[in-house]
C-alpha cells in the first residue's frame, strides 16, 4: 500500500507552477515507476504511465487524467528594491497579500507579498482590492543584488507546509489537483493486485490552469477509447450556496451533464453501488473546467467521465480536503477499470475510427 497522505504532502509542498511542472513530475514519476509497465513524458511535459491489461492485444484503453500544475506568480519586472509580478492561472489577489513566497531566482529566495499598514490608508483604499499594479514582492535584497539574482520570467511559488487537521482532513497549497494525482496513484496501486483487461494510461497533466492544455495534447497523442478526469470540486463550506457544492467526506462526485457520457456515469455509479463505496453525484450544466472538457472532444471524440474530490477554499494556500475522499476516488476508478470488458464499448454504440 502506498502512504497516500505522505505522498500528498510531498506533492503539495513541491513547486509546479503551470508550464514548469518539473519538480512535481519528478516526484510523481518516482511514485509511479514501481506501479507502471512503462513511463514517459510528452512534448508538453505530461507524465504518462502505462499499465498494461492482461490478455492478448490489441486491448482497449482508458486514460485517467489529473493535473499536476498549480496556479502561481511570475516576475514581470524589477522595480528598485522590489519585484513586480503577474499571475499564472486564476489567483485571487485578495488571498496573497501578506503571503510568504519563494522567488525562484538564481537560487530560491524567500519573499513576502508587501502590504501597506492600515493606519496610513484611507477608508476608501482599505475597502478596495489592491490591483496587481500596486502589489510588490520584497525579498529583502538591495537593487544591485536583486538585479543579479532575479530576472523577468522567474517563477514565484507560495510557501506553505501542508498541515493535518482533525478527522483526516489536511490543508495546504496545490491540493488542487495533486489530490487527483494521488488518487491516480491509489488506483494504480490497487490495480497491482487486480485482474484487468484494458490498458490504463495514467496521466499527470500539465497546464490545466491556463486552459486544459496538457490534457488536450496528451489525449490526442494517446487516443484512448474512454477517459476519466479527476479534479477537485467545491466542497461544502461557509459562504457558498448549497446548490453549488458537494459534501466533504462523502466520496468522489460522479458528474453528469454534457461533458459526461451517460454510460460512463451509469457504470461508475453502478460500480460504486456494487462495492458499497461512498460516492455522490453532481450536475455540471456545461463547461466542466476540468481536463475532461478537453479530452471529450479530442480527435473523433472520447466518452468521458468527470470525478470531483470535494475541496474547500479552492485556489488559496489553505485548500482543505479529506484524505478518505482521495482514497475512495482511487478505489472507485480501480474497481471500474477491473470491471471493463470488450462489451463496454459496444454498449455505448460507438464505432471507432470508421467513416472517414
Amino acid at each position: 500500500m502506498i502512504e497516500s497522505t505522505e505522498l500528498l504532502r510531498q506533492l503539495s509542498q513541491a513547486s509546479g507552477v503551470t508550464g514548469y511542472e518539473d519538480e512535481v513530475r519528478q516526484l510523481v514519476q518516482e511514485a509511479w515507476e514501481p506501479l507502471a509497465d512503462e513511463i514517459r513524458t510528452d512534448a508538453l511535459g505530461n507524465l504518462i504511465a502505462v499499465k498494461r491489461g492482461q490478455g492478448d492485444g490489441p486491448r482497449p484503453t482508458i486514460m485517467l487524467a489529473a493535473h499536476m500544475d498549480e496556479i502561481g506568480l511570475m516576475v514581470s519586472a524589477i522595480d528598485g528594491n522590489f519585484v513586480r509580478f503577474t499571475t499564472v492561472g486564476g489567483v485571487d489577489l485578495r488571498t496573497i497579500v501578506g503571503q510568504e513566497v519563494t522567488v525562484h531566482g538564481t537560487d530560491p529566495l524567500p519573499g513576502i507579498v508587501a502590504s501597506r499598514p492600515p493606519h496610513i490608508l484611507t477608508a476608501q483604499e482599505r475597502s478596495q482590492v489592491i490591483p496587481l499594479e500596486k502589489l510588490f514582492i520584497d525579498v529583502g535584497l538591495p537593487e544591485e543584488t536583486l538585479q543579479q539574482r532575479v530576472h523577468v520570467g522567474d517563477l514565484i511559488t507560495m510557501r506553505r507546509e501542508m498541515i493535518s487537521l482533525a478527522g483526516e482532513f489536511v490543508a495546504g497549497k496545490a491540493i488542487d489537483d495533486r489530490a487527483g494525482v494521488v488518487s491516480l496513484t491509489v488506483c494504480l496501486d490497487m490495480l497491482q493486485g487486480m485482474r484487468h483487461t484494458w490498458d490504463v494510461y495514467a496521466v499527470a497533466t500539465t497546464q490545466e490552469e491556463i486552459g486544459l492544455r496538457g490534457a488536450t495534447v496528451s489525449a490526442y497523442g494517446l487516443a484512448p477509447d474512454i477517459s476519466i478526469a479527476v479534479d477537485v470540486g467545491f466542497g461544502k463550506q461557509q459562504g457558498v450556496s448549497d446548490s453549488k457544492i458537494i459534501d466533504m467526506d462523502a466520496g468522489p462526485a460522479i458528474a453528469m451533464g454534457p461533458n459526461v457520457h451517460p454510460k460512463m456515469h451509469e457504470r461508475l455509479v453502478a460500480t460504486g453501488k456494487q462495492y458499497e463505496l461512498k460516492y455522490q453525484t453532481e450536475v455540471i450544466a456545461g463547461r466542466s473546467g476540468t481536463d475532461g472538457w478537453a479530452m471529450q472532444v479530442s480527435r473523433e471524440g472520447i466518452p468521458t467521465a468527470v470525478l470531483s474530490i470535494p475541496l474547500r477554499y479552492m485556489h488559496t494556500t489553505v485548500e482543505t480536503i479529506c484524505t478518505r475522499d482521495i482514497e475512495r476516488t482511487g478505489r472507485l476508478m480501480a474497481l471500474f477499470i477491473a470491471g471493463l470488458d470488450e462489451a463496454f464499448l459496444g454498449e455505448m454504440g460507438i464505432e471507432k475510427g470508421a467513416g472517414a
Binding site: G19, L44, A77, D79, G211, T216, V217
Partner: protein, 337 residues
C-alpha cells in the same frame, strides 16, 4: 530592408481577406524555397528543405508570422449609403474617428461618429455601434462595396531613421523579419516551414490548421509585443530599442522552457541583446502551434512595438535587424532542446 517593410506594411489584408498580401509575399519568397503552397485557411506555407550536409539531426521547424491585420467588415448599408461595420480583431473605437480605410477593390472611405461635434460626444467615448464608414455613396444602391466586404486602414510608412511608424507593424514587421531571415539563410540542417498565417487577429486560427498540416518538431512564432516605456504605461520590462524580446509567457501560453533557453543561449553566444518578455494581455500563433496534435514545443520571438492596434504602430529598426540576425542563427544551426 526598409523597402521590404514599406511594401508589406502598406499592403491590404484584413483577417480572412489576405489574398493581396499573400500574393506579395509569395512572389518574393518563392525563389528562396523548395516548395510553396496555400492551405484551406489561406495560410502561405513556404518550405526550405534541410540539407543533410549542413549538419545532422535536422528538425522540422515551423516559423509563423501572421500576415493578416486588424480591420473592419461591412455588416449593413443603410438607405443613405452609410456603412455599418464589425471589427475583425481587436479594433479600439478610440482610434477610428476620422480614420481612412480602403477596401480590396480600391474603394476608400472615412469613418464618422454619430456624436461628433455634439455635446455628448465631448464627454464620452465612441462605441462601435455609433460609428459608420462614409464611402461617398448617396444611397444603398450606389455604394461601391457590399455587405461582407472588408476594409483595412490606410496610413503611409514613415521612416524616422531609427524608429519606423506604420499601420500593421502588427504583424507585417514580423513577416519582414521572417522573409529577410529566409533571404539571409544559407544551408540549414532543418526543414524550415515559413508560414505566413491567416486570421491570427480573430483568434490565432490560421496557425491551428497550418501546424496540424505541418506537424513540426518545434514551433516559433514571430510577432510584436507591447512595451512599458511610454508615459504612464502599464509596467512592463520591455522597451523599444533594447533588442528583440524572447517570450516567456503571455496571456495565452507559457513558452516551452527549453525553447526559451535555446533562444537566450543563442542570443548570448551571438552577443545580440535581448529582452525577457512577460506579457499581460494578448497572445500569438505560438499558442495554437503548441496545442497542435500531440503537442509541439513552442516559443516566440517578439518585436517590441508601441501603440499596437492603432493605425500608427512604432518599432525600432535596430530591434528589427537584431531579430533577423537572431532568427538566422536559430534556424541555421542544429537544434538541441
Amino acid at each position: 530592408m526598409k523597402e521590404l517593410i514599406r511594401q508589406l506594411v502598406e499592403a491590404y489584408g484584413p483577417s480572412g481577406h489576405e489574398g493581396q498580401i499573400r500574393a506579395l509575399i509569395e512572389e518574393q519568397v518563392a525563389p528562396h524555397v523548395d516548395d510553396v503552397r496555400t492551405d484551406a485557411m489561406g495560410n502561405l506555407i513556404a518550405l526550405k528543405r534541410g540539407r543533410p550536409e549542413a549538419g545532422g539531426g535536422g528538425k522540422s521547424v515551423m516559423v509563423a508570422a501572421h500576415m493578416d491585420e486588424i480591420g473592419l467588415v461591412v455588416t449593413y448599408i443603410d438607405e443613405k449609403g452609410f456603412l455599418r461595420f464589425a471589427p475583425t480583431g481587436g479594433v479600439s473605437p478610440m482610434t477610428l474617428v476620422g480614420s481612412r480605410v480602403r477596401f480590396a477593390n480600391g474603394a476608400s472611405g472615412v469613418i464618422g461618429w454619430e456624436k461628433w461635434m455634439r455635446p455628448e460626444g465631448a464627454t464620452s467615448r465612441p462605441d462601435l455601434s455609433e460609428l459608420y464608414i462614409d464611402v461617398g455613396a448617396t444611397s444603398r444602391d450606389d455604394a461601391p462595396v457590399g455587405v461582407g466586404d472588408a476594409a483595412g486602414f490606410v496610413r503611409p510608412f514613415e521612416d524616422l531613421g531609427q524608429r519606423l511608424i506604420a499601420k500593421s507593424m502588427d504583424n507585417r514587421i514580423s513577416c519582414a523579419v521572417a522573409m529577410q531571415a529566409l533571404f539571409d539563410l544559407g544551408d540549414s540542417p532543418n526543414d524550415l516551414y515559413f508560414c505566413f498565417t491567416a486570421q491570427e487577429e480573430v483568434g490565432t486560427r490560421g496557425a491551428v490548421t497550418a501546424s496540424y498540416g505541418i506537424d513540426p518538431d518545434l514551433g516559433l512564432a514571430v510577432d510584436v509585443t507591447l512595451v512599458g516605456d511610454t508615459p504612464k504605461a502599464r509596467p512592463m520590462a520591455v522597451s523599444l530599442g533594447e533588442g528583440p524580446a524572447i517570450k516567456i509567457m503571455d496571456s495565452g501560453m507559457l513558452a516551452h522552457p527549453g525553447v526559451v533557453r535555446w533562444m537566450m543561449e543563442t542570443a548570448d553566444a551571438l552577443g545580440i541583446p535581448y529582452q525577457r518578455e512577460v506579457l499581460q494581455g494578448g497572445s500569438t500563433d505560438a499558442r495554437s502551434i503548441q496545442l497542435s496534435r500531440a503537442g509541439v514545443p513552442s516559443g516566440c520571438l517578439s518585436i517590441p512595438c508601441r501603440y499596437v492596434h492603432t493605425p500608427s504602430e512604432m518599432v525600432d529598426y535596430g530591434d528589427v535587424q537584431q531579430a533577423v540576425s537572431l532568427l538566422v542563427e536559430l534556424l541555421g544551426q542544429e537544434i538541441a532542446l
